[in-house]
Amino acid sequence: MFAYYLRLGLRSLRRNPLLTLLMVVAIGFGVAASMTAYAVLRATSNNPIPQKSSQLFAPQIDNAGPPFTAENDGEPSDLMSYIDTMALMQAHRAQRQTALYSIGVSIMPADAAQLPFQVPSYAGYADTFAMFDIPFLYGSGWSAAEDQSRAAVAVIGRQLNDELFHGANSVGRNIVLDGHSYRIVGVMNDWNPQPVFYDVHSTKGFTDATQLFIPFTHAIDLKIPAAGVDLCNVTADAGWDAWLHSECTWINYWVELPDRSSVTAYRNYLQGYAAEQQRAGRFKWAPNIRLRNVTQWLDYEQVVPPESKISLLISLGFFVICLVNTVGLLLAKFMRRAPEIGVRRALGASRRSIYAQFLVEAGAIGLSGGVLGVLMTGAGVLGIGLVFDPSIARLATLDLSLAGLTLGVAVFATVLAAFYPAWRAARVQPSWQLKSS
């Protein structure tokens, strides 16, 4: 029966090619616009580290006080001062912890004819690699002992390793950064979590893959300044030591807390630490701390660009209008065939089969709209670079699941839109139609 209904449907669609085309194009446009916008939203609201996003936390401590936090709904700085970083690091209350900051070091190629260049680089602690599940191609991260001894070691990314060492195992070889030599201890395999949850403030969430890590302690010894954002609500005095002892915030602090009890314990510890700072006279305000996991953090930092949500909203509205339009056109199309329905009913077709016939016809329209939609989503995804930053645009892709979703949504929505027109068609009174003709 299905094949017969499909044949009937296709014949009917051919009878009003313009009307059919209008419905197919409207559904195609509507679904393509929605799916393109969805592709961007999916990419920007991606969970960068799903297996651990509920175990990694970014603590925040208010070291500026009410006059400044008032401008930000009472929220403490997103970044941490060196003073608090050192205190938390020494207390070592989490299972793992790291402090990261973006550094603007330049790589000096061994070949003097080449110019120095920069890659996204961070200073961090040894725990970083285990905390973020960073995969290694060669070697491994450095050890906590090397943090302690403030060693000149480095972990480089695969891309950088390809560029400098043509992909060979470079563990044990040296890399020169700003005139200082570092021993390579590990080469990361492809690792590029997007959004870059560990440094949202400076990257706005989306940037190239990190290609270099050096020990935080060594970077501090070399007085390498933060290349990212720093916030100074209390101005620092001159010099590196004054900078370290200032209340400027510029460090991304992360802790790994595997279960609920450790989260509670760590929150209590932060509260206690801030209270202690208040008693000591450093904070002249009540403890004001936060502890957010990766998903809460990305949400708080609003890494999803508002444009992505607005365009999805508008596109969905557009799709709904296309569907309303389809309901109207299907209604007109089906009712125009009332005489034909009358004949079929009189010859013994049940309401159910009329119903099925028209739903199949609608399904065919939906499928054609869906195919057109997939093609246009493909074009739309290529055009995302027109609206969004390249770092975001390249994340939004038309993969098999999106193509499937596009087809599915188109067919489902069109069949849904056909329910009312098909119901009306099935209610046609055979006697009426036969009488008047």
Binding site: A26, P116, P305, G328, R336, V387
Partner: protein, 408 residues
């Protein structure tokens, strides 16, 4: 003249079709007027001037690689001398950052250094005495910096500088009575000593167009001992392309220990502006395209349903014609019918549009919808409805009276 009663009676018999068109017009209105309003917002944002003469301006972001920061002010001075001597160059200056370039620094502004809340935040540009000429910023009161007032500065130290130039927007907010010139201003959060406003410029935007304090800017005479900085270079008219090639080459010839970042390293200001407003322009194009397609779809939908109605009512039209209705009467009937349906759609759509706008205001902190856009979109949809009805209505008016005597 108006056949409202029979129209209403007819519409009652086509409830579903009527409701669908009303709904479609209402939703279209809600989306189109909000989209147009967003487009206008984006275009308005894009058309704001930076305060600089943007043509014939080259920007170079320069990162010193492995150079002792203390040596940087003198290296930068040598760079500037070389740049100014290049053929085709009018002038060159150095700054930490520049309008639409991102990054940079901002500080709190106070008149009373002990006051806890600041008057405003302001963008700081650390520049030399060539900045105004190179940027093409218009000085409207006071004077420019002298060369001897430009100091080498450690960026981690927040030494306050005795002389500053501010924008008119900042001067007006600090000294609303207009007496800013020559008066003190405190820049930074706990600065001991004030700076004197020696000049006021007409306009100069901060480093990024989304700043809430965009036009509140202060110029400070300092060469920063910072490994990251930017050069602004003004070329003679028509020689920008040559200068864009010659300038980086001249800098590398002077010292190779530097990095020009890949995308943002060397850009003419036209490119800077284009990249800064890329999302805004893209959104405007995207929303414009959606509006256009939406109007086409809605128009086509009206054509389709009206044609269907005309086809259904051929016999009734024939009867009316036979009873003396003129072609114009039939035409007017369908146009009036559409007008009433569209009006219903516009009324509901207005409610929807305002609700959507309220939600956007709440959720995305957008400004509330201006009623001009609502009125314009409503008028456009009513016109669209009439236009879309015209062809089927003309067809209806050509139904011959003899149709009354035919069965189907």
């Amino acid at each position: 003249m108006l056949q409202i009663k029979p129209i209403l009676a007819a519409l009652k018999r086509h409830k579903a079709g009527t409701i669908l068109i009303v709904l479609q017009i209402a939703l279209t209105l809600a989306i189109v007027c909000n989209a147009l309003f967003i487009i206008q917002q984006r275009l308005a944002s894009m058309s704001r001037p930076t305060g600089m003469v943007e043509s014939n301006l080259l920007t170079i972001q320069n990162h010193w690689a492995g150079v002792d920061t203390a040596a940087i002010p003198s290296l930068a001075k040598a760079d500037l001398l070389a740049l100014r001597q290049l053929p085709g160059v009018v002038d060159a200056t150095q700054s930490e950052a520049f309008p639409l370039g991102g990054g940079g620094e901002s500080e709190g502004i106070r008149l009373d250094p002990l006051a806890k809340p600041r008057i405003t935040l302001a963008t700081e540009y650390f520049v030399d005495d060539h900045a105004l000429a190179t940027m093409g910023v218009r000085l409207i009161a006071g004077r420019n910096f002298r060369a001897d007032e430009v100091h080498a500065l450690d960026p981690t130290a927040n030494t306050s500088l005795p002389e500053v130039i501010v924008t008119k927007a900042l001067a007006d907010v600090a000294y609303p009575d207009g007496s800013a010139l020559g008066r003190p201003i405190y820049i930074g959060n706990d600065h001991p000593s004030p700076s004197t406003i020696i000049g006021i410029v007409d306009q100069l935007q901060g480093t990024w167009h989304t700043l809430s304090f965009l036009d509140r800017t202060v110029l400070l005479p300092a060469q920063m001992a910072d490994s990251d900085g930017s050069y602004l270079i003004r070329s003679k008219p028509g020689q920008l392309a040559e200068v864009a090639k010659a300038a980086p080459a001249a800098l590398l010839k002077l010292d190779r220990m530097r990095v020009f970042p890949p995308v943002k390293g060397i850009r003419t200001f036209d490119v800077v502006r284009e990249q800064a407003y890329k999302t805004d322009r893209g959104m405007a194009i995207l929303l414009g395209a959606i509006c256009l397609i939406l109007l086409i779809v809605t128009g086509a939908g009206i054509v389709g349903l009206t044609s269907f109605w005309v086809g259904q009512r051929r016999k009734q039209i024939g009867v009316r014609r036979a009873l003396g209705a003129t072609r114009n009467d039939i035409l007017a009937y369908f146009l009036t019918e559409n007008f009433m349906i569209s009006l219903g759609g516009v009324v509901i759509g207005t409610v929807l549009a305002i609700s959507l706008s309220e939600w956007l205001v709440l959720r995305f902190a957008m400004p509330p919808l201006s009623f001009v856009y609502l009125l314009l979109s409503a008028a456009a949809l009513l016109l669209l409805g009439q236009g879309a009805t015209l062809a089927p209505a003309l067809k209806a008016s050509r139904v011959p009276p003899v149709e009354a005597t035919r069965s189907v």
